[in-house]
């Protein structure tokens, strides 16, 4: 596995399909280094182009999300040519674990997630990979942060926003099958409170549930 060019110490955190994560120290700040590496199966120019645009996009969307009032790990350093993005390390527990450990708190946590995603969507940012593992509760102020904007993009299309919610629901179903309804109900309640383009997004969301991967359900609902 190719190591990033980086003058400080690196401690491997995780190996992903698209990038590797390392724990590092950046000028005295505990930080996470995300390294996008070139793919051997791609034309070298294509893989470099993708690395560069995705690294820049991720950094700028993190900043834009913060400006919209969403807590995110802020970018500290970027080297898009080498696919390096360094963000502040957030110490805390993933909501995936918090939800299982504090079932009484599920309503509050789901509502906070809903408010975060609403703020994001109101500035036309689509996260692209919403799961309860991408929310973290910080150890110090108890704030909920949203992580990993690696698949995020800008769009005002209601179907993209609806898909974002559908992706979260799919993740909730597989991670917290017994809590699906209590989480999604509270999430939707807080998500829709003050959401721009509410009717179109929710209409799309309901339609999406009956589309694509869910053909069988749709056929049944049509009596086919």
């Amino acid at each position: 596995m190719e190591k990033p060019k980086w003058p400080f110490e690196l401690e491997p955190l995780s190996w992903g399909a698209e990038s590797n994560l390392y724990l590092t120290d950046y000028l005295g700040i505990k930080a996470v280094l995300k390294h996008r590496f070139p793919k051997k199966y791609m034309d070298p120019r294509l893989t470099r182009r993708l690395i560069k645009t995705r690294t820049i996009r991720e950094a700028s969307l993190l900043i834009e999300a913060r400006m919209a009032g969403v807590h995110v790990p802020l970018p500290l350093y970027i080297d898009s040519e080498n696919g390096i993005l360094v963000v502040k390390y957030i110490e805390g527990r993933l909501l995936r674990d918090v939800i299982d450990e504090e079932p009484d708190n599920v309503g509050v946590l789901a509502c906070t997630m809903g408010e975060i995603v609403k703020r994001l969507h109101n500035t036309d940012i689509i996260h692209g990979d919403l799961t309860t593992s991408n929310f973290i509760r910080s150890k110090y102020q108890g704030r909920i942060y949203l992580l990993d904007f690696g698949l995020a993009f800008k769009s005002r299309r209601p179907e993209d926003k609806a898909t974002d919610i559908r992706v979260l629901e799919r993740a909730v179903v597989s991670t917290h099958p017994m809590l699906r309804e209590s989480i999604m109900e509270k999430f939707i309640e807080c998500y829709t409170d003050g959401l721009r383009d509410l009717d179109n997004i929710m209409a799309r969301y309901r339609k999406l549930s009956l589309m694509g991967r869910y053909v069988a359900e749709r056929r049944k609902s049509l009596g086919a």
């Binding site: 399909a17 793919k39 051997k40 199966y41 791609m42 034309d43 294509l46 990979d129 898909t163 069988a216």
Partner: protein, 351 residues
Amino acid sequence: MWLHRILRDKEVTVLGIESTAHTIGVGIARNRPPYILANQYKRYTPVMGGIHPREASRFIAENAPSVISAALKEAGITMNDINAIAVALGPGLGPCLRVGATVARALSAYYEKPLVPVNHAIAHIEIGNLLSGFEDPLVIYVSGGNTSIIAYKDGRYRVFGETLDIALGNLRDVFAREAGLAPPYISQGEHVVDLCALRSREKKLLELPYIVKGQDVSYSGLLTAALNALKQGAKLEDVCYSLVEISFSMILEVAERGLAHTRKKQVLLTGGVSASSILDKKTKLMAEARGASFYNVPRKFAGDNGAMIAWAGVLAYLNNIVMEPSEAVINQRWRPDEVDVPWRNQNGRSN
């Protein structure tokens, strides 16, 4: 070895009929080595334009009897030796599926053999498993009508990612046709778009749309942009090169995500597009980088064929999956994740 269990069962021989698109294929399979006893097919190639479902279905109807006879002859058996008739009921083109289903219902009723419904996509996967000896692969299924990343989990083959619009093979065929490269689509065993890409001297990489949304890909924008580039005077070979590089990278990137997510250790490449040497090489590189083993299903079993329907029919029949001829209705959009696969256990291994 995963074949143990089905070898312990009584000997069964199944005749399988494939007619989901341009191919009328008839295969014969048995749960004893050499497993595949016959694999006969005839493929409809339009003189111009794409596959017209009516023309293709007429071709299938006209050729079905001779292909069935040829398959029995190749296996050296008669209808008396056949235990069941398997048929691909979907996904595919309605008029074509209907002909295959009609033939299968007739054979089943006349010879009093049970009828076994088979999902075309699952048949592609199962014959790949048989030939590779893989027990639990991540499947890259790329053809003229299908583009999916599939993996087994909890009793079913799950679609991990797929195309949101046109299939990879469709992208290649339509581009070839519009650019004046085809028909014929295949020359010396390779697709004309690949051959055109290999002729590109400069290998100029044009800025064409690369669209991956989470686990899914979208090819229709790429097709439009490639044709526009051609109209605006870009060199044909460069457009081919860029189209091939970008379209293959997109599906492999999604496959790599699937591999990381599912933690599978085997990669199976199948479907008509798997015949591409360029895709074969790239997929091998991707699998190697992830520490996974790789198998590309040989051409005659990777394109649409009857042997795969017969083999999937053997697996289903041994699990008592049969239906009355009157129930055997086609389903043009029959997704693989709607089908229970009882012949695999919780670990994704055939039990």
